[in-house]
């Protein structure tokens, strides 16, 4: 009896459910071509594009500022080179009367570059100043003077100072994506980093929500216990 009632009930339910559809007749869309679905866009790619646009906008003024700073540094380097050349010429001419006159007119130790022996190519102080400028300048410049250093310690200083050419990637909490010279390296790591940050904040937010709801639930049970 029960089985019969179940079967009957199921039949009734099915007929009730299909009645409006049958009454409405064939569907309008049947037989027609299926409209083209909108292209599936990857939200990650869209987000990446937007982030890149923002980053490009941010990096433009940074690049402009960097260019200006480089120009200033180049100008300073040129001026320093000119001073060094002039000093070198004075040092070369130091063997004659001019050198004696220089040595006599200047207090001792005030201009060691001018007082350098004529055999040396560049006076020590001039080399030091040029090295200092070289540290601040961009090392990728191909037009730099190819100086030869006789002292290996100057090589060590230049090697050690190479890290000063690296510019910080983070500006006020925003990570500037590296230029697309190494696309697989730069894009992947930055994208994963952004995703990790979003996920981290999501975890923190859900954790806070959980604590809040747990506290509310606990307070409600206490109130219920007191009221009862």
């Amino acid at each position: 009896m029960k089985g019969f009632a179940w079967v009957l009930g199921s039949f009734l339910l099915l007929s009730l459910a299909s009645a409006p559809a049958l009454a409405a007749g064939p569907l309008d869309g049947i037989g027609k071509a299926i409209p083209k679905a909108p292209p599936i866009t990857n939200p990650v790619e869209e987000t990446t594009k937007k982030v890149k646009e923002v980053v490009d906008e941010v990096s433009k003024p940074v690049e402009e500022t960097t260019k200006k700073v480089k120009e200033v540094v180049d100008q300073v380097a040129k001026a320093t080179d000119e001073v060094a050349k002039a000093t070198e010429e004075v040092a070369k001419g130091g063997g004659g009367t001019a050198g004696n006159a220089t040595g006599a007119s200047q207090p001792s130790g005030s201009t060691p570059a001018a007082a350098a022996p004529s055999g040396s190519k560049v006076a020590p102080k001039a080399v030091g100043s040029r090295t200092g400028v070289a540290r601040a300048s961009n090392r990728r410049g191909k037009a730099r003077s190819r100086s030869t250093r006789e002292n290996p310690e100057q090589d060590v200083d230049e090697v050690a100072a190479a890290g000063n050419t690296i510019e910080p990637a983070r500006v006020k909490g925003t990570q500037i994506i590296a230029p697309a010279t190494d696309e697989d390296a730069a894009g992947g790591s930055d994208l994963s980093r952004t995703g990790a940050q979003i996920l981290g904040w999501l975890v923190v937010a859900s954790w806070l929500l959980g604590i809040g709801s747990a506290l509310v639930w606990r307070a409600r049970t206490r109130v219920g216990a007191i009221s009862s």
Partner: protein, 211 residues
């Protein structure tokens, strides 16, 4: 104070959430290991200074027509992809094109390697006020005995750097190398730097080459 079962469950849930969060955060931000704590050394060989019979090379890989190498005085170093090399006097500087890393090699003070290493450390300390050397190890570069230091620093522009420096006792003299990369920029740069440092080939002395 009676601790109910519900309270225990609540505490366990909160503790579990905390542990899960810590694990996830560590996985994403701290799990790369070599990123902020450059201690991974899977590329540089372990030090066995007695194995120095094959120090140097008779012919350099960067000699004829090999554009992927930059040749300096008595040495050649490979220029990785997306890097460019520049020879300035006796110093070769390789720079990643996006400016996130640089590696330089030049001559060091002749004599004991410890003296050259002291020079490098002193120069690094002078250049970077917040310098922290985390490891110092003896290694082999192109079969030559070397000392390798690893650490971190911050440069004048405020970039947080990881660096590795090497002083090598090559057949034609001592050489110094220092590689810098920005921490957190590209973790694989650590491997690139180590691989590039290992790519250096030192020319043996002329007498040995002729023989």
């Amino acid at each position: 104070m009676i601790i109910s079962r519900q309270s225990l469950i609540l505490a366990a849930v909160i503790l579990g959430a905390l542990i899960l969060e810590a694990v996830i955060l560590w996985w994403f931000f701290g799990g790369s290991g070599s990123d902020d704590n450059p201690t991974s050394r899977d590329s540089l060989p372990e030090a066995r200074l007695e194995e120095t019979a094959g120090c140097g090379s008779i012919s350099l890989a960067g000699g004829e027509g090999n554009s992927s190498f930059v040749r300096g005085s008595h040495y050649a170093i490979e220029v990785p992809a997306a890097w460019e090399g520049d020879l300035d006097g006796s110093v070769v500087t390789l720079t990643k094109r996006n400016g996130r890393a640089t590696l330089s090699i030049g001559r060091a003070r002749p004599g004991e390697l410890s003296g050259a290493l002291d020079d490098l450390r002193d120069s690094l300390r002078r250049t970077y006020p917040r310098l922290e050397v985390t490891r110092v190890e003896p290694i082999l570069i192109d079969g030559c005995p070397a000392r390798w230091i690893l650490g971190r620093a911050a440069n004048r522009r405020g970039a947080r750097l990881s660096f590795e420096g090497v002083v090598v006792s090559a057949p034609t003299g001592n050489f110094v190398m220092a590689g810098f990369r920005e921490r957190g920029a590209e973790p694989q740069l650590d491997f690139e730097l180590s691989r590039t440092i290992r790519s250096v080939e030192f020319l043996v002395a002329d007498a040995r080459a002729r023989s």
